[in-house]
Symmetry: C2
Subunit: 235 residues, 2 copies
DNA sequence: CAATTACTTTTTGTATGCAAAAATGCCGGA
DNA sequence: TCCGGCATTTTTGCATACAAAAAGTAATTG
């Protein structure tokens, strides 16, 4: 199975290649937050966390500042930092912005993507369909993300890509608690079919609309999941 | 003259109010970069800069990491950081993204702004006109920025506002080297007239288009200025 | 018993120290 | 003169030390 690598690089521009400690810490910490291992509103104890990541407080604090700018952690003066909350209102905001960014990317991608790009995305799409058919959610998500990422990349606008990644990180966080009904899942797949079709025809206007709708459906799912988590927490 | 304050806060969410050293350093450093006092591609010597800002290297380094995430500085592993370059290609990218964000904000603002909001923006507009009439460029820019900021704020989406601010910082940097011809200036003012009109009528669709066009004209000006600076540097 | 307060512990924020990497300068040789 | 290599200096990256603030705790008082 061809595994097209995600350019899951940190969003900064590093002119050289050697990895520095605080860079790896940024990525590790981001992963911990995105994957929910560090739950929303968890207090980040610097001493403990530094030990856990096998470093000292200095690089950790630098990483925290970096992620604060991405909005994944919040800084409380003289009281350290906490993992950003996962509030429904925030999610709504994020999805609105993400909708604008993806719509833009879709339009640009229809203009700028090479035939090879489109073929790649199409291939990813079929892999995704396969995992959907087998009910393999994790793998499905994986290819789903790759497709969206590739569309963004095809827009050929690195600044757009970076802004998208930052927003998307927030959405990814919510994904880990969304339990998809088969019905909704099927619908999402159907939407992807249409998107691929629009991309093949390079119909930017239509792809824009489809991406926006797709995201707004995704938002509904996330909101339900958040609601469920909330009532669960109240029990 | 009423001076409606810009909420020019750092983009992080601080739950308390006390200012910490590294926060002020973030803002100071950002200002130095945006206002061009630290020219693009300037190497940031930590020792020198820390002394200049009256602090030690630790808070400065934290601030640098924060601004790296905003894209205002670039990190070179083992070689410190430099002020981000002001490349034409980057500017084009930024303006495309900014166009999408402002268009979105304009649409939302037409729905969500209160009558008082619109009245405020209109007032700012007339102040701007006054400074334009007197040829006071700096003051004109000031009100211009405030108008755009207020439109974003009226969208009622803090996430959007933050993304916009980050992008706008890049544009602001370019502004300091754009010398506006009277002709272009008049045109920009005319565009603002139309924008205010659309906002008054709450015509979101039209405001979107106007904002996009306004920005694309602004991009042309910035590109010319960058070109001029380049040929100047070649002399 | 609740609440306040004094005291202790923990944690954060900042400065400094130290090692490793990069930049600089110097010298000799082609 | 120009280039390359070696030694020196500077600068960065990380760890640690120290001070200040917050959190926790226990004792005292109304």
């Amino acid at each position: 199975m061809p595994d097209i690598p995600m350019p899951q690089a940190s969003s900064v521009t590093f002119l050289a290649e050697r990895r520095l400690l605080h860079e790896t810490v940024i990525d590790q910490l981001r992963d911990l937050i995105v994957q929910g291992e560090l739950a929303p509103e968890t207090k980040l104890n610097e001493r403990v966390l530094a030990e856990r990541l096998g470093t000292s407080r200095t690089p950790l604090r630098e990483a925290i500042k970096f992620l604060a700018s991405e909005g994944l952690v919040e800084l409380l003066p003289n009281r350290g930092a906490v993992v950003a909350a996962l509030k429904p209102e925030k999610m709504q905001e994020v999805f609105v912005v993400l909708g604008a960014l993806e719509a833009l990317a879709g339009d640009l991608a229809c203009r700028n993507a090479t035939e090879a790009d489109i073929a790649d995305i199409r291939a990813l799409h079929y892999h995704m369909l396969a995992h959907h058919a087998r009910g393999e959610l994790a793998q499905y998500f994986r290819y789903n993300q790759q497709i969206h990422q590739r569309i963004i990349d095809c827009a050929g606008n690195a600044t757009l890509a970076q802004a998208w990644r930052a927003m998307n990180a927030h959405v990814k966080r919510a994904r880990y608690l969304a339990n998809l009904s088969r019905e909704r899942w099927d619908k999402a797949v159907k939407e992807h079919e249409d998107m691929i079709d629009a991309l093949l025809k390079r119909d930017g206007a239509r792809l824009q609309v489809l991406l926006r709708d797709h995201l707004s459906n995704k938002l509904v799912m996330v909101m339900e999941a958040l609601q469920a988590r909330k009532t669960e927490a109240a029990r």
